[in-house]
């Protein structure tokens, strides 16, 4: 199809869709209105289970099954990238040569790295109390490691990130989340039921029952997954070269 015909189709389809969406928007409840029945119930349920961060309660308790699916999507995508970004038949690996890094960059990276790492772990650990949690903290922790690439070089990054260990860590933490779900069934309650542990004192690190455990599993899963994902893309950019080598 030539671009002109395509544009006409887009105008036709997009115009219809725009009309539909605008008509629907005009019928929506007023922005900022007070009526949020599910949200109100979720807040009450979170407080009843001593979880200060309601969003964490929704993610890891009330709708923990969604999070299970979400985590598996990430797990599957990482596995998919491992497959798709493998070394093809007509490619070879060429370890990159070490390179010089400007001293201020090196100093800055090496100072920030531990800070960023600890921040990531803190955000994971406090997921049930304050904004953040496994997903957010996991990403921070994983990207922190990559400051090593900026501050030193690729070989240094590869030393602190044995990729196989992270792949296995990813799989094990995903399995841990599922096993916590099975534990609910085995204990005679429901799948992913938050009834195994006491709910603890409101606003303390140990509050919320199984929420901190699921949150920690997700934090580890996300951190490992992001490390593996970035490693696969970096490999393509830095190590894998076309041609069969020799």
């Amino acid at each position: 199809m030539n671009p002109r015909t395509r544009l006409w189709l887009v105008v036709l389809g997009g115009g219809g869709l725009a009309a539909l969406l605008v008509a629907a928007c005009l019928r929506l409840p007023v922005f900022g209105g007070p009526w949020h029945p599910y949200g109100d119930r979720a807040v009450r349920a979170a407080l009843a289970r001593h979880t200060a961060n309601t969003v964490a309660s929704v993610n890891f308790d009330q709708r923990a099954f969604d999070t299970m699916g979400e985590m598996t999507i990430l797990f599957g995508a990482v596995l998919g990238c491992v497959v798709l970004l493998r070394q093809a038949r007509d490619e070879h690996r060429d370890p990159p040569a070490p390179c010089e890094v400007a001293a201020p960059v090196r100093r800055y990276a090496l100072i920030v790295l531990p800070v960023a790492l600890v921040t990531g772990l803190y955000v994971i650990a406090h997921g049930q109390l304050s904004p953040g949690g496994g997903f957010q903290g996991g990403v921070v922790a994983a990207t922190a490691l990559h400051l090593m690439y900026l501050g030193a070089d690729y070989a240094a990054l590869e030393r602190i990130r044995p990729i196989e260990a992270y792949e296995i860590g990813d799989a094990l933490s995903a399995s841990a989340y599922l096993v916590l779900g099975f534990a609910g069934v085995l204990a005679g309650s429901a799948f992913l039921a938050n009834t195994l542990l006491p709910y603890g004192t409101f606003n303390m690190l140990s509050s919320g029952g199984t929420v901190p455990l699921l949150n920690a599993a997700i934090g580890m899963e996300v951190a490992c997954a992001v490390v593996v994902l970035l490693a696969r893309f970096l490999d393509q950019a830095v190590e894998i070269e076309e041609g069969s080598g020799e």
């Binding site: 671009p3 395509r6 544009l7 189709l9 887009v10 997009g14 869709l17 725009a18 969406l21 605008v22 928007c25 005009l26 929506l28 007023v30 922005f31 900022g32 209105g33 007070p34 949020h36 599910y38 949200g39 979720a42 807040v43 979170a46 407080l47 200060a52 961060n53 309601t54 969003v55 309660s57 929704v58 993610n59 709708r63 969604d66 999070t67 979400e70 999507i73 990430l74 599957g76 995508a77 998919g80 990238c81 798709l84 970004l85 093809a88 109390l129 304050s130 904004p131 997903f135 606003n203 994902l229 696969r232 893309f233 393509q236 076309e242």
Partner: protein
Amino acid sequence: MTAVMHVLPYLVAAYVFLVGAYGLATSRNLIHAVGCLAVCQSATYVLLLAVGYRDGGTAPVFSDIRPGSRPVVDPVVQALTLTDIVVGATVTALLLALTVQIAKRHGTVDPDELRELRG
């Protein structure tokens, strides 16, 4: 708030969605197309968060406010948005991985130049 503000955030979401779809249909570069897909997805964030907003509401986190002392926004849509973001990131990663391989196998990332799979 004026009557316009009552629907404006929803209309913004619709606009962002349509712009993303337009970009996707007319894209000349697959990396740009993956970006457009992410734009479409951003529209879903905007819509979800707009739907969950409550006038004067704050974050639904009670570590520093007393429950009931202030209105809070809907925590459910925030959780849904988080799920949505993770999904979006993974889809982007996978599509970019496929695009890397397209660039190698076809020598181009322009959809107009991909000549396999016709008819």
